[in-house]
Amino acid sequence: MTALIEVSNLTIRFRTDEGLVTAVEDVSFTLGKGEVMGLVGESGSGKSVTAKALMSLNARNAVYGEDSRITLHADTGPVEVLKLKTARELKIVRGGAISMIFQEPMASFAPAITIGRQMVEQLQLHGDMSKARAKEISVEMLDRVGISDPARRFDQYAFELSGGMRQRAMIAMALSTRPKLLIADEPTTALDVTIQAQVIDLMKDLVNEFHMGIVFITHDLGVIAQTADKVSVMYLGRLIEEGPVREVIRNPKHPYTRGLIAALPKLDDLDAPLTPVAGDIPSPLERPAGCVFHTRCPKILGEVCRTALPGDTQVNPTHRVACHLYPPGGPA
């Protein structure tokens, strides 16, 4: 599989009144063309900040690490995303090679401009095309995502659509510029399960059709199991486990990943007690030393976890974990 985007040693800190806060630390991963990667973790794990960095969308107080690199393999050749500065340069990634859809579609559409005008506007910004052609493409996309009567919807405002329709319109808008990479930040979390199932099916169809890479951010492992090829699990800004979706869900290695899976209420065993991951996620202002998970870890080994940062261990060529339980070179 050829690489679409390569992230290496990504570290992101934010300048705040309380000092420099680390949101993402030393994260590396590669996403291939047409590959769907699920990015899982709880609030504060840095998954959204990581995804936004791919489009250089983080707020101005973000400070990237010296050796942090994000390389996008666009049609025109490799692009160093973090080196892009001006709005003109950034156009290559924002809405061009990369599109993003968000959790709350109502907040993503301008309320006083019709959906059609917003779609046409972005198409014209990114491609040299006439208004008529842009409208044609927009209506086609609305139709493709399953919006009935697309020509009429084109002239409607976001508030006139239901939640599910809005999310479909959002997807249509994101895909109309034919991005190579789609970042979907909790796209189904605000939807009802029945609508979520429809949107998931739609996204699966679109991956096959457009052959784009997707970074799918969610806290719902069920959604990941249904959509992703591989999973990356983040905790307090660090990528602690990564591997193919079957591997990670059936054979999780990191105590945190295991805890996440155990905490899910399962329908096939109603008698199983619900087991939370003990404790609360520490504040980013009080990042633990050593392994970031040691304050909640049920398998803590001792001093080593409190002081030394665990390195990556390859469980097998595609599955890696960062935990002292699995020393590099030892049996996993």
């Binding site: 979520q196 069920g222 996440l260 939370p276």
Partner: protein, 334 residues
């Protein structure tokens, strides 16, 4: 748990006048002739999509929105209230006995008050304690039950994580010693890792304090694990109601079945596209005639389009409102 019901509703309806009818004002039927019993000490689950009326039903039972039809009674052994007419001192007394836990623990807590003051406020407003010492003692006792320590009480909400905030909201709801709690999507905003923790706490409170919960949720797997009884709502109507195990083992209403098949499976090899619903829940201001689910139901026949099915009580405690549930049960393998 006893068999005596704490809450009994009969044809309970809640309607809202909305501004946008073609001929003057339209009536939005948010809750439409709902009859149910909530047994004392039970954990009663209420599920359905947005717009199904589950939140409105919960609020109506707390007397936070006016009921427009039917009756509702509250009997906790000490008092017997007719909720439709409750007012004055008895309404004040009812507020102490029935409380709400909100969905969003970030919005529900005032950022300017310490945790101690947040939890103490209901006691002061309701005049349940006479001295500050008494208030402090009650606050500390309930905080301990909700696994908050003295150190936490002095801080402000911003210093807490989502799970801790929800425990503060729970303590605030419990401090007046209620018998009935409406928990409206109380774990929906929480991460999975701490969701289980809050659910376990609620179950513990149900057991230790004999509190009856109305647990409103859109998450069926959470409901399956916590509730004794499940009621399913669609467009203001109760479509199915039964003990949890029965509903999950053999759902009778096509809508309930569809809800189950929409839950994303944790098995990556089970990416089946089972029976999934098409379309969305119709607008409550423009409800379909007949069975309200007929526009999305895969088993619709002519009768469903014209005649609304009543909630049947087949005698096994598993109530359902569907014209075809018997024949569907015979043809599908449970």
């Amino acid at each position: 748990m006893t068999d005596a019901p704490l809450i009994v509703t009969s044809d309970l309806s809640v309607g809202f006048r909305t501004g946008s009818g073609l001929f003057g004002k339209a009536l939005l039927k948010a809750v439409d002739h709902v009859s149910l019993d909530i047994r004392k000490g039970s954990f009663f689950g209420l599920v359905g999509e947005s717009g199904s009326g589950k939140t409105t039903l919960g609020r109506a039972l707390l007397k936070a929105v006016p009921m427009t039809g039917g009756t509702a009674r509250f009997r906790d052994g000490e008092v017997d209230y007719d909720l439709t007419t409750l007012s004055g001192p008895s309404l004040k007394d009812y507020r102490k006995r029935a409380q709400l836990i909100f969905q969003d623990p970030y919005a529900a807590l005032s950022p300017r008050m310490t945790v101690r003051d947040i939890i103490a406020e209901p006691l002061e407003v309701m005049g349940l304690t006479k001295t500050r010492e008494e208030t402090d003692a009650r606050v500390r006792a309930i905080a301990a039950k909700c696994r908050l320590n003295l150190e936490h009480l002095r801080r402000f909400p911003h210093a807490f994580s989502g799970g801790q905030r929800q425990r503060i909201s729970i303590a605030r709801a419990l401090v007046s010693g209620p018998k009935f709690i409406v928990a409206d999507e109380s774990v929906a905003a929480l991460d999975v890792s701490i969701q289980a923790d809050v659910l376990n706490l609620l179950k513990e409170l149900q057991r230790d304090l004999q509190i009856t919960f109305l647990f409103i949720s859109h998450d069926l797997s959470v409901v399956a694990h916590t509730c004794d009884h499940v009621a399913v709502m669609y467009l203001g109507r109760l479509v199915e109601s039964a003990p949890t195990r029965r509903v999950f083992a053999a759902p009778r209403h096509p809508y309930t079945k569809a809800l189950f098949s929409a839950i994303p499976s944790l098995d990556p090899d089970d990416r089946g596209r089972g029976q999934k619903l098409t379309g969305e829940i119709p607008s409550p201001t423009n409800q379909p005639p007949g069975c309200k689910f007929h526009t999305r139901c895969p088993y619709t026949i002519a009768r469903c389009r014209t005649e609304e099915p009543a909630l049947e009580h087949p005698g096994d405690g598993h109530e359902v409102a569907c014209h075809r549930w018997r024949e569907l049960q015979e043809t599908t393998v449970a």
